[in-house]
Point group: C2
Chain length 571, copies 2
């Protein structure tokens, strides 16, 4: 390698090689000119799948989905300019949701910075504090060849560290952009990455949580980040405590200790008072339910927060003891510690179980009274009818809540959501990324506004060869606002204009423009079978369901009244 | 005002009032909950038009378009979280293109920061150095009421300063979000804004450019930022120089000194050598043409750069004298200085004029030989057939170039482009903003990839009541790459996959989903009349034109060969 373009091509080939050595399998390439050397390198690198996307915003979330499913970073390549700024929402989400991601933005060389050169913006630290690591190695130069492998390898390392997240490489390329890659600097033997991350020591601290706490009436609150598995339920059984299980926790399974209807149960004042615990152990992220979170915040008891690390997640400022590490490991030593003292009376967990049974029954019966599609029913039926091994991605704002509130416990389905920043942006693209990385089928449950927001997630989708079923719950506007004080406080005209915001877009026609087949069941009883059938067919499909925003509020109230009546009868 | 929500409502009402006093007329509201107090305040404020947009990215560019047309800031209101990050591309464009813009992002109060609260990201300095001013006044509090008017007024001031641009107000609101606005702090008398910006002194420096320079063979290069008008041509006539006029300069008008075909002319080596000037005065932004810019960079002569201010725009690092101020004023004193010495020989400007005439004639004759739509022909005919008073927005990457290269001089049309960062993002939304602010009709000339990128610019467009005709030049992929070295250096399969990137989307069907009527002329001769007719009809319309990427390269070469042959004949 002698000429400048050849050096650049070799530099890019070295990065691509280190990425593969580090476990990267997927690269999203957004077309552009300045990024040509890197686009060519990743396309030529064995072991990398390349996904082309015209819209960088969607491409960024596609990579988030890939990283979310696989827990290894996908790489996104963009050209310079606003193309790089387009990735900001996905980088923010990856940062907060702790999803590994490598963003490689092409840039112009220093002599073209800040002189009005075309498509040149200030890309240094473009994503602020959202990234785990930012590097700007300068125009590739033979002098620095001995550092190239470290650069590529470290990008993977920083993205997959104790607190995974996004890494930003800002790569300046000088014209001409097309060269021939020469011999890459020698790598480690046996295909190892330049830097290997050692295993993470999982510290255990038996006795840190006093036995006396574990002997009280307690609850486990399990959210995203529990890692699934049965360690949580084993601990619950040992302690005689219930598990308030978010769908994304992986522990909302059919166990006697599972509480799925916590939101509905705790809306019933007497029951919320009766079931107050003396200690709370929160595992992973908090639930979405405002009712559950406000109930937890108001308890005034000791709260233990166990999670894999990163900034403390404690919106209520209630944590008294924080444990950083694997939830499964922590559950193990907590269970081991519970040997010497008697636990809470048997009635404690039985009271919870009775409320859960009454709640699930009331939800089910109420929904059976509705022959038309309802949003709670769509969420419940979709989850229930998925085949084992499926992934279900739920979108903000309402679907993630409807599934949390009304989804019944079941095994064998992985439920996910972009709950780092809770945005409605990029959700379809995240689902596409999940589907690309998944072993089984992927299903997306999404509202019409989020679906339209990432309509460009549909670009090229029909040709990506993924098993993805998109269930669009279409109430023609922002359904969540009907539940907020805005709905009552404003007149209907002002409310519709600023919050209801009907758009009138025919979701099915939009899907058809992108070559996707659309099913439109019109009866509630047809929804579950339709989901099962469409998922069974394979390929990429849309199920379009029309609902009504006002009726949706009513059916939520109806369910909560039915659950309340059932709890009244429990006494 | 006593309760917290009432204070918040009064704070927001005060900002809205100051914005109106400062000249703001338009607010883009993106639906969300945390932003409720501000959304309600702007909707209630007389003098403000509210435009609702579901996609913040498109909403941001809508505001850029409004600011570009009106030269006063539009306000964008978003909720917290990635919604705020979605505005980043528009903020970057506004920063580099010097478009006034006020971004008001709602945020959560300090106690909900960095504790994993939903939809909470780090919004402090979210857009880095792209903004002219960032302010974060904290949760509204009666203690600070005396500063509210200054805050609102200063946002307008900073956005419209000597170097206009974006301003970011990050506004923390605490629940409950709905209150009643009380009496606002007293404002200045007679509806004046709290702070009024004084007139800008325009320094003149006669004699700064030596008379000996002005007596040589020189060229004026006029780009965006000239402010239009005839001052440039008066100077050119006085000096006996040609004006190489970019369409966006406002001076590519029918004058004897106008050179519009500079790109084609300077591709002809002997002519480029023969017409080399001894001095260059660049007015406003540089042209887009790489041919013209490289020719200018290679001259090795004194170059004077005159422009309204902001960071120096000089990608070739060739400026020897920089004048900051109004182009018209500078042209005035340059012309006044040219009295004492003889100018260049008459043959100098005549040589340029002859080349221009030959070039325009060759372009016209070549295009007449093509009965099918060609991209150069579409650009040329669209410009030629617009009614006087129209605005023409041209998109990156190819339309802005095709218009620069092949658009004939004409009067009465304002040509614009997002050439701050030259992005292909948000272009349709920018056009919608222009159309909302314009007096006459607006026409957008855009390629298929840029059109798809901002497909969400079509959301709600049919109901916005604007006179906007969107001319989509659809070659099913990234047409510009066919002109770059990538096209020749890679095999066709790899090129199509990474650069050509056909998407197969039916542009007309997509427009129809959003309720827009679509015209599809198939003959070149029909295009100009179709543009005239559609613009004349009023309302929002799409003209969909299919072209072919390979044929497009060929017709460009054919034109350049014809211009070259004509220049050969000139001698």
């Amino acid at each position: 390698m002698s000429s400048s373009p050849d050096v650049t091509a070799t530099f890019c080939a070295t990065l691509a090689d280190e990425w593969v050595r580090g476990g990267v399998t997927d690269v999203v390439v957004c077309p552009g000119s300045r990024s040509t050397p890197l686009a060519l390198a990743v396309a030529a690198q064995p072991g990398l799948r390349v996904h082309v996307h015209h819209d960088e915003r969607s491409g960024g979330f596609l990579a988030v989905g890939l990283g979310l499913a696989a827990r290894r970073p996908a790489v996104v390549v963009t050209t310079s300019g606003t193309a790089a700024a387009e990735l900001h929402p996905a980088v923010v989400e990856a940062g907060l949701a702790q999803v590994p991601l490598i963003v490689a933005t092409a840039d112009r060389p220093p002599e073209l910075q800040d002189v009005g050169a075309p498509q040149t913006i200030d890309q240094t630290h473009l994503y602020g504090r959202s990234v785990r690591w930012f590097a700007e190695p300068g125009v590739p130069d033979e002098v620095t060849a001995s550092t190239w492998r470290s650069l590529g390898s470290r990008a993977v390392l920083e993205a997959t560290g104790p607190v995974p997240g996004p890494v930003h490489l800002n790569l300046a390329f000088r014209e001409p952009l097309i060269g021939a890659a020469g011999e890459r600097p020698a790598g480690r033997a046996e295909g190892r990455p330049w830097i290997t991350m050692g295993p993470r020591p999982d510290f255990v601290a038996p006795g840190l949580v006093p036995d006396s706490w574990l002997a009280r009436r307690g609850v486990l609150v399990a959210g995203e980040g529990c890692g699934g598995g049965d360690a949580v339920h084993r601990l619950a059984t040992r302690l005689g405590w219930p598990v308030l299980a978010d769908p994304r926790s992986g522990v909302r399974t059919r166990r006697t200790t599972t509480i799925a209807a916590a939101d509905a149960i705790l809306r019933h004042g007497p029951t919320a008072a009766r079931l107050q615990p003396e200690v709370v152990i929160r595992l992973g992220q908090p639930p979405s339910s405002k009712v559950v979170n406000q109930w937890l915040d108001g308890l005034g008891v000791e709260q233990v927060v166990v999670g894999p690390g990163g900034p403390l997640v404690d919106p209520g400022h209630r944590a008294s003891l924080v444990v950083r590490g694997s939830v499964a490991a922590a559950c193990g030593w907590l269970a081991a510690g519970r040997t010497t003292v008697p636990g809470p009376p048997k009635g404690w967990v039985d009271g919870w179980a009775a409320a859960e049974a009454a709640g699930q029954d009331a939800i089910e019966r109420t929904l059976l009274d509705h022959p038309e599609p309802t949003e709670p029913g769509i969420a419940r039926d979709t989850l229930a009818h998925l085949p084992a091994g499926a992934i279900l991605l739920t979108s903000s704002s309402m679907p993630v809540r409807d599934l949390e509130w009304y989804g019944a416990p079941r095994d064998g389905v992985r439920v996910m959501a972009n709950r780092g920043a809770n945005g409605i942006d990029g959700v379809t693209s995240t689902a596409v990324g999940l589907a690309l990385a998944a072993q089984g089928p992927t299903v997306l449950l999404i509202g019409d506004v989020a679906f339209l927001h990432d309509a460009n997630g549909l670009l090229g989708l029909a040709g990506r060869g993924v098993d993805l079923t998109i269930v669009v719950v279409d109430n023609d506007g922002g359904g969540i606002f009907s539940f907020l004080p805005q709905a009552g406080a404003l007149g209907p005209e002002r409310f519709e204009r600023l919050f209801g915001t009907p758009h009138g877009v025919d979701v099915a026609a939009l899907a058809a423009v992108h070559g996707l087949p659309v099913a439109r069941p019109t009866f509630a009883a047809a929804i579950g079978p339709c989901v099962a059938r469409e998922v069974g067919e394979g390929g990429t499909r849309v199920i379009h369901l029309r609902t009504d925003r006002a009726a949706n509020v009513a059916v939520h109230h109806e369910i909560h009244a039915a659950v309340g009546a059932a709890l009244d009868r429990l006494g």
